[in-house]
């Protein structure tokens, strides 16, 4: 095949640079704002550089919003809980879809996709009434219970694609040797599909972390249970908005997710795209 000429190469790199300026712009702005002293942030016109940048906001933010650590903990706690229960529901279901033929199989798979299409926002009214009826408003459950439901459909599709890759012959051999269905699922399938389960878990975690905003502002008004995404509004005070600390807290809040993601991105990308491309 033809190779890139030098001008074409330069053009490609320039285009990539423009593309990434778009992708990374808000993160760079956020980071930059977090380094500036509050007085400087409001200095107009915009300054691209100044010599009083510091990490001071990263220390001060814990004093401004004393519950900040709690909010970050809440976010993680709820996202991990959602992930755990999602896996509990999804592993047997995905296995069943991958291995058995039964009436309504294809139909119910499409219905699952349809569930995906009604994001939480459409169903908020009855969910609000449901949670109020069970007295779950203003608890962790108010954000966890709906969170699980909206993680299930895509997770089933992801994991099903993984289970299908494991040869049936392995199971049949074990079956002939007298192993029960449950033995097979937990002794053979589960260990072999660890990467697939990991991808599903990461997907559910990211999804759960992102969903929290909507559920938190709608179903929870107790500060102690706030996730970081809604806790950030506390930097908006009566007198002034501590923008630099708010940005610093945002960065600290998403940092762990980014780290997990960067280390595992290869599996996520493969796992997410495998199912869609195959068809």
């Amino acid at each position: 095949m033809d190779r890139y000429s030098l001008p074409l190469k330069i053009f490609l790199y320039l285009s990539i640079a423009v593309f990434f300026i778009f992708i990374l712009l808000p993160f760079v702005e956020m980071f930059y704002a977090s380094l500036r002293p509050l007085k400087h942030i409001f200095r107009s016109p915009y300054q691209f550089y100044s010599d009083d940048l510091s990490f001071w906001a990263y220390r001060e933010m814990w004093n401004t919003v004393p519950l900040l650590g709690r909010y970050i903990f809440n976010s993680f706690f709820m996202a991990i809980t959602v992930t755990f229960f999602t896996l509990l529901f999804v592993i047997p279901a995905a296995y069943s879809y991958a291995r058995f033929n039964f009436p309504f199989k294809q139909g119910s798979l499409w219905v699952l996709l349809a569930v995906n299409m009604f994001s939480g926002a459409v169903l908020l009214i009855p969910l609000f009434k449901l949670l109020r009826y069970f007295d779950l408003l203003n608890t962790y459950f108010a954000m966890i219970v709906p969170g699980i439901a909206f993680c299930i459909p895509t997770s089933i599709w992801l994991l099903k694609a993984y289970f299908e890759k494991i040869p049936v012959e392995l199971e049949e051999a074990a079956y002939c040797d007298g192993a029960s269905r449950m033995d097979i699922l937990f002794r053979i399938i589960a260990p072999l599909s660890t990467p697939g389960i990991a991808v599903t878990a990461i997907y559910a975690f990211i999804q759960a972390y992102a969903q929290q905003f909507l559920f938190a502002i709608t179903f929870n008004s107790i500060r102690e249970y706030m996730p970081i995404v809604s806790g950030l509004t506390e930097f908006i005070g009566y007198q002034s908005v501590k923008w630099n600390e708010m940005m610093a807290a945002s960065i600290v809040g998403v940092f762990p997710v980014l780290i997990v993601f960067i280390f595992l991105q290869k599996y996520i990308v493969e796992g997410l795209t495998a199912g869609a491309i195959k068809n």
């Binding site: 190469k9 593309f19 926002a121 998403v254 997410l272 491309i277």
Partner: protein
């Protein structure tokens, strides 16, 4: 003999249903029932105080109000351009990241943060970018002499509409790029080599091989993007709360404000049902399109 054994192994319907039962029951409670309840509530004047059956009153009011049709049209315009640009920018991104250049695998990681980071936090970053006094866009505009003074992008009707759309595009692009890229890598290389031997240039190879081969992925991504864009909530709620003067109020924002801002569950439900109907129309159109394309492919 062996065949029989395999068949019996594969036909345990009962176990199959037991395994999917927990997930299905959970979804019926948290998604299925609320969906039916939304339909029921849409025929009542339900609020915190109580509820009475009112028939089609909510729908009649909704469909005859010019405000609602304005909001619906605005949502369609917003969704259409947002999805179109997501697909175009995603395609450009995928072509760029597919080029065999040094640093390619690094670029592929770098494209994902907008998708991984919670939308609410990404939107905060954009709020900063759009700020008139200390945002970078306004700053650059003033330096270059395009703007006379600080310009708050979220404070004016047209600029706020475009600004929220740009942020939505930003959230959606990584996902689209990723899927286009994976689709491109699944295209057999010999197709390109054959075309190259026949003297086809880069653009012609993209137009005659990549584009048709990617059609199913493009259609899938346009549906997924359209649905999620149509009910995109966090971005608009954080950046503008539907303002200024309603310029960025989409159907989902209107529904939310009606239902959970004013606690008018009945009226809010009627709006939610309208959204469900519109989304379902998208989906049906999509499956129709997909089945036609599949037919074309299988008939050569």
């Amino acid at each position: 003999m062996k065949k029989n054994k395999l068949n019996s192994y594969n036909s345990q319907h009962f176990l199959a249903y037991i395994l999917i039962a927990p997930a299905v029951i959970y979804l019926l409670c948290i998604v299925g029932w609320p969906l039916i309840e939304t339909f029921r509530l849409s025929f009542t004047n339900s609020s915190i105080a109580g509820e009475d059956y009112v028939g089609f009153e909510n729908y009649e009011k909704l469909l005859s109000s010019s405000k609602f049709s304005k909001i619906a049209i605005r949502t369609f315009v917003w969704t259409f351009f947002s999805v179109l640009l997501k697909l175009i920018i995603g395609m450009i991104g995928a072509v760029l990241l597919n080029a065999s250049l040094r640093g390619r695998s690094f670029f592929r990681i770098l494209v994902l943060p907008p998708w991984v980071v919670p939308i609410a936090i990404g939107a905060l970053g954009w709020m900063w970018v759009y700020n008139g006094h200390f945002g970078i866009l306004s700053g650059i505009g003033i330096r270059l002499g395009i703007l006379d003074g600080p310009f708050s992008f979220l404070a004016y009707k047209n600029s706020a509409f475009i600004a929220t759309m740009v942020t939505d595009i930003w959230v959606g692009v990584p996902f689209v790029t990723l899927f286009f890229l994976a689709g491109m890598q699944a295209i057999p290389r010999d197709l390109y080599e054959a075309a190259y031997c026949d003297g086809a240039g880069r653009f012609s190879r993209w137009y005659h091989i990549t584009l048709p081969q990617l059609t199913p992925v493009i259609i899938t991504m346009s549906l997924i993007s359209a649905v999620s864009t149509f009910v995109s909530f966090d971005i608009i709620y954080i950046l503008t709360e539907g303002g200024p003067r309603g310029a960025t109020t989409t159907l989902i924002i209107d529904t939310y404000k009606m239902a959970l801002g004013n606690y008018k569950f009945g009226k809010g439900s009627a709006r939610a049902v309208m959204i469900v109907i519109m989304i379902s129309t998208f989906a049906i159109a999509y499956f129709y399109l997909l089945s036609r394309i599949n037919k074309k492919v299988s008939h050569g």
